[in-house]
Amino acid sequence: MVTALVIAVLASLLARTAAARPGFGWLVTVFPAWRFFDRVAASPTLLVRFAIADGALGPWCPLDALRDRTPIGPAGSVRRDRPGLGWAFAPVANLRLAYHAAVTRFVQELDDLPAEAVPELAPGAELAIETDPAVLGLTSYALVCRIARAHAPAGAHVQWKIVVPGDPAPVDCVLSPVLAP
C-alpha cells in the first residue's frame, strides 16, 4: 500500500512536466494532480455579442445569458438548467463546464506565450482586436471562436472577448475580430 502511494505521487509529479507538451495533455488524466478548488476565485469569463444581417453589434452577454445553438439531446427535448435528476445525469451542465475549461485553458496558454506576443494594455486604453498570429494559431483560440459562434443566432456576425478577474475591477484580456457568419 505504501509502495502504491509513493508510485502514485511520483507518477503525478512526472506527468505534470510531460503534460505541458502539445499532444500530451492526456497524461494528467492518467496521473492526476488531485487539486480541486484550492484557489477559489472568479475565473475568466467569455462575453459574446452579435449582429444579425447588417445591423450593429448588440451588447456583450455572458454565455449563461445566451442560447447554445448546439442541438443537444433527442430532437425536441427540453433543456433545463438543473433537471430533477441532475445530481445523477447532467450532460448539458457538463458540456458547459467543458466550454468553461476551454476558455480557462486559452487564458493559461496566453500567459505561457512569450511576453512580446501579448503586449500589456495601457490603463484606460481600449482593447485592440487580436491579430497576433501566435494567438490566432492556438487551438484554444479556435475553440473559443466556435464556442462563441455556437451561442449566437445562425447567420449572425459574432465578436467575443474574455474578461479576467482584476483588482479593483475585471480586466479585458482578448478581443476577437468580428467573425463573419
Partner: protein
C-alpha cells in the same frame, strides 16, 4: 471483504460510472461532430508533429464518426463489465476513456475522467490475473489514488487563507459556471455556516487517511465521503464525481481490512 469481492463491487459501480459518462457524451454528440464546437479538424492541429501512425489512429477515433463509435463501445463495455468476469470489457473502458481524454486534450470532465480510468485499470488488471499479487497491487493503486485525491485536495486548500477563514465556499458557489441553486447560495451567505461547511470539507479531506490507519473508521469515512459527493452533485452539479469516486471505495475498504483493528 476479499479481493475478489472488492473487484466485483468495483466492477458494478464502474459499470454505472462509465455508462453515465458515455450516455452524457452521446447526449451532446453534436458538439463533437466535425462541424461542432469540439470539432476534430480543430483539435487535431495539436498532433501536427506526432508520428504519422499515431495521427492516423487519432483521426480514426477522434473524427465525428469515430468518437461516436468510441462512445458506443464505452457504453457497451460499461453494460457488460458488471456481468462478465472476462477482463475485456474493463480493458475496453480503459481504452475508450483514454481515447476520450486524448481527444479533449487532457480530459472532458476533469478529475472524474482520471478516477474513471484508475478504477477501470484496476478492474482490468485484477480480472486479468485474479487471485494473484497483481490483483492486490491493482487494488492498492486504486486505494492509494483515492486517499491521495482527498488528502492532496485538502492540504492544497489549507494553504489558501480563504479556506482557513471560511470565506471560500460562498465565493465558490457564486461562480456562474456551476449554476448553484439559489437556496444553497443563500445558506452559505451566512458566515458561520460557511465557516462550518468550509472546515467540514477540510476536516474530511485531510482526515481520509484515518480510513487506512484505523480499519473501524473506514466505513464511517467512506459514508461521509458518499454524502460529501452527493452534496457536491446536488449543489455544484458534479454528478460524475459521485459515481467514479464511489466506484473506487471498495478498494479502500479491502485494504483497510488488511490491517488488524486496534
Amino acid at each position: 471483504m476479499t479481493a475478489a469481492q472488492a473487484v466485483t463491487a468495483m466492477a458494478h459501480l464502474l459499470g454505472v460510472a462509465a455508462a453515465i459518462a458515455a450516455l452524457e457524451l452521446a447526449w451532446v454528440r453534436r458538439a463533437l461532430a466535425d462541424d461542432g464546437v469540439f470539432a476534430w479538424p480543430v483539435l487535431r492541429r495539436e498532433l501536427a508533429r506526432a508520428p504519422r501512425p499515431l495521427r492516423a489512429l487519432a483521426d480514426l477515433v477522434g473524427s465525428g464518426r469515430g468518437i461516436v463509435l468510441v462512445i458506443a463501445l464505452q457504453l457497451a463495455a460499461a453494460l457488460a463489465v458488471p456481468w462478465l468476469e472476462h477482463p475485456a470489457p474493463a480493458w475496453i473502458v480503459v481504452a475508450t476513456t483514454l481515447a476520450i481524454a486524448f481527444r479533449f486534450r487532457g480530459s472532458y470532465n476533469g478529475g472524474s475522467d482520471a478516477m474513471l480510468l484508475i478504477v477501470a485499470t484496476c478492474v482490468a488488471l485484477a480480472r486479468s490475473a485474479p487471485g494473484t499479487a497483481v490483483e492486490r497491487a491493482a487494488l492498492a493503486y486504486a486505494a492509494a489514488q483515492l486517499v491521495l485525491s482527498y488528502v492532496v485536495a485538502g492540504v492544497a486548500k489549507l494553504s489558501d487563507p480563504a479556506w482557513r477563514r471560511g470565506t471560500a465556499l460562498p465565493v465558490l458557489v457564486a461562480l456562474p459556471q456551476y449554476r448553484v441553486p439559489a437556496r444553497a447560495r443563500a445558506a452559505l451567505a451566512h458566515p458561520l455556516l460557511a465557516r462550518l461547511a468550509g472546515w467540514s470539507v477540510l476536516g474530511f479531506e485531510c482526515g481520509v487517511p484515518l480510513a487506512l490507519l484505523q480499519p473501524r473508521a473506514c466505513p464511517v469515512v467512506l459514508t461521509v465521503g458518499a454524502v460529501f459527493h452527493l452534496g457536491n452533485a446536488l449543489v455544484l452539479g458534479l454528478n460524475r464525481f459521485l459515481w467514479t469516486w464511489l466506484a473506487a471505495y471498495p478498494a479502500l475498504l479491502y485494504w483497510a481490512q488488511q490491517r488488524p483493528a486496534g
